[in-house]
Amino acid sequence: MFSRKVLTPSLFSRFATTLVQRSVKTTPVSLGSPYAIRGDPSVASGQVKEKMNLFTAINSAMSIAMENDPTACIFGEDVAFGGVFRCTTGLREKFGEKRVFNTPLCEQGIAGFAIGMASMGVTAIAEMQFADYIFPAFDQIVNEAAKYRFRSGGEFNVGSLTFRAPYGAVGHGALYHSQSPEAYFCHTPGLKVVVPSTPIEAKGLLLASIRDKNPVIFLEPKWLYRSAVEEVPIGDYEIELGKARVVKEGSDITIVGWGAQLHVLADACEKAREDQGISCELIDLRTLLPWDRETVAQSVKKTGRLIISHEAPKTCGFSAEISAAIQEECFLHLEAPIQRVCGYDTPFPLIFEKFYVPDAFKNLQAINETVNY
């Protein structure tokens, strides 16, 4: 079901296998990871379900949002024909050209336009074609959208605004089709930042984001657009923002991640359990801003150990915020330093992607180091 686009890894896998074998007594670790986790099964459990992948689930969410909100609009580059990732397929046919439309190629314009629309109370769902291209819109998002309500004393706001953007590694994206820019936005009071990890999660979180009365940046892991498939409720449901999900319960170590990385972490956790009987508690943060500090702290107080992993570069990555906050709150409970398993502090390279990303090996190694500290 879930398959990474894998280059022939013979040399790499031998190196990796040796590395892992040296540190753990184990059977060889495979490179590809299965689509490791599913969305929260308790969500909308009474509803009829249908097989959907990530972009279909996102499409479903937007369709429902548009049905119930007659002035809601979706716009961005190429959304009219269905979007470069097919997320908006069929929406223009269903809701008309006034509500689903292409904009000129200009992210600062998309953002400014979206803000103006939302300031009038109209729901605006603005797509940035890749998160890597969101930076021209940074001024509008950070200086305007995030501050709109605060600076006007509540006279005005852009609560009905949602930005959507595909983010993250895709196997061949290199510098400008692989970035994870969440940390820049998490540093901005006034925004919410949400990252789903499965189709069920994506649909519920997107509906919640669109309806949330604050500007939300919704980052969609492009890796999972096609490859993540599950049975998703076809009706209307929301997943609460600001609340993390404990995906797997465990007792020895807490692992925190979000988006596509969650599946990598699940793989590492499974290997750790299989090979050394380490019991990992895996947490999907879902919302990064505001993040569910309570759930993570509660978990760390139980396990005494924490690893956070993300593709974004390590320095000032969002894991740094979680680290700092958790050591503040759980210092005396910690058995080992908090570890961050992240992308290197370089731009995202093409041919070296396999080495760059914080894969299951690196996480497995970190788990071992932490547990044996």
Partner: protein, 350 residues
């Protein structure tokens, strides 16, 4: 005479002296130009900026306030003229007081709009209450005309508990939902694409007799957001008036260092937007221009660009001393010979 529409002007200048030497022989409906006929020529000729006449500015009164012979008589009465005059004088007195208050250390900052009273008053009077206004920071006359009180201005500048903005922003960052005037923010030109979006929202909300107006200076029009906004306004057919106050300065930067083209008006046509240029110190002309712009916006649901030509008599702000970059004589020249308030007085309500 009527208002000089740029469309008529360009027809005269563009097809006349520029390419008259040789007519193309093959025309085609061009995909690249979405249905415009593209002519091919085999004489290589570039289009020089100097070939286009400077876009003229519309005025009704001369500098003394006399209605120019042949110009449309302004449709007004004594009561209205007195109201406009009082408004402009109140504005200038309020500005003077708030400036001095800052100098006394009682507020932190202020920006006057001396010299631009006619631009504010003339444009504001042409709008309706349901027209949403976005502004830059030098449009207090527009907000006051809407009904925002002088007292409320004080609250905002003093950042006290009665400020609608709850004391969170610097002085002159006013805003008021009930007056349909969006709160000012310091970053320049960010409001311009927002106005295009707000105008689109007005369409979605079925507001048939409404438009959005966004004010900005000629300096802000150098920002990327300006270009983004005009392009969006045109392609998405937004009923928005892009209202540029060209007052000659962006802090210390004069317009000759801000752009090389024919002001801001010349950019409109490039984006496919109907454009009007007006004498910003002639309150009647500004009113008529804004009325016409509004009519186009509302009836034809498309954007309009207005460039109001004026002069910033005051300093950029209380943190600025403009004598450091311009001669006193230049300021006095404008005050004496082209003063919006005295021109209205001079018109004697004719």
């Amino acid at each position: 005479l009527g208002i000089m529409m740029l469309s008529r002007l360009s027809t005269r200048s563009l097809r006349g002296p520029l390419f008259s030497t040789f007519r193309g022989y093959a025309e085609e409906s061009s995909t690249a130009l979405f249905g415009r006929k593209l002519t091919y020529v085999h004489q290589l000729e570039s289009l020089k900026p100097s070939a286009l006449d400077t876009i003229p500015a519309y005025r009704i009164m001369d500098n003394a306030g006399n209605i120019i012979e042949g110009a449309n008589e302004p449709k007004t009465n004594e009561e209205e003229c007195v109201k406009m005059y009082k408004h402009m004088v109140t504005l200038s007195v309020m500005d003077r007081i708030l400036y001095d208050i800052q100098r006394q250390g009682r507020i932190s900052f202020y920006m006057t709009c001396v010299g631009e009273e006619a631009t504010h008053t003339g444009s504001a009077i042409a709008l309706k209450d349901q027209d949403t206004i976005f502004a830059q920071y030098r449009e207090q006359g527009v907000l006051l005309w809407r009904g925002f009180s002088v007292e409320q201005m004080m609250h905002q500048c003093f950042s006290n508990a009665k400020d609608y903005g709850k004391g969170r922003q610097m002085p002159v960052h006013y805003g008021s939902k009930k007056h349909n005037f969006q709160t000012i923010s310091s970053p320049l030109a960010t409001q311009i694409p927002q106005a295009a979006g707000a105008a689109y929202a007005q369409k979605m909300l079925g507001m048939d007799d409404a438009c959005t107006v966004v004010y900005f200076g000629e300096g802000a029009a150098s920002e990327g957001d300006f270009h983004a906004a005009l392009n969006f306004g045109a392609t998405l057919e937004c009923p928005v008036i892009f209202f540029c106050r060209n007052n000659g300065f962006a802090i210390s930067t004069p317009s000759r260092e801000q752009f090389r083209g024919d002001g801001i008006a010349s950019r409109g046509i490039g984006y496919g937007i109907e454009t009007l240029r007006v004498d910003g110190n002639d309150v009647f002309a500004v009113r008529e221009t804004t009325e016409r712009a509004r009519e186009i916006c509302v009836n034809e649901q498309r954007p309009v660009l207005v460039e109001s030509m004026s002069y910033r008599v005051g300093h950029h702000s209380t943190s600025d001393d403009s004598s450091r970059y311009r001669p006193k004589e230049e300021i006095e020249g404008w005050l004496d010979t082209n003063n919006p308030i005295s021109r209205l007085r001079g018109s004697d309500g004719n």
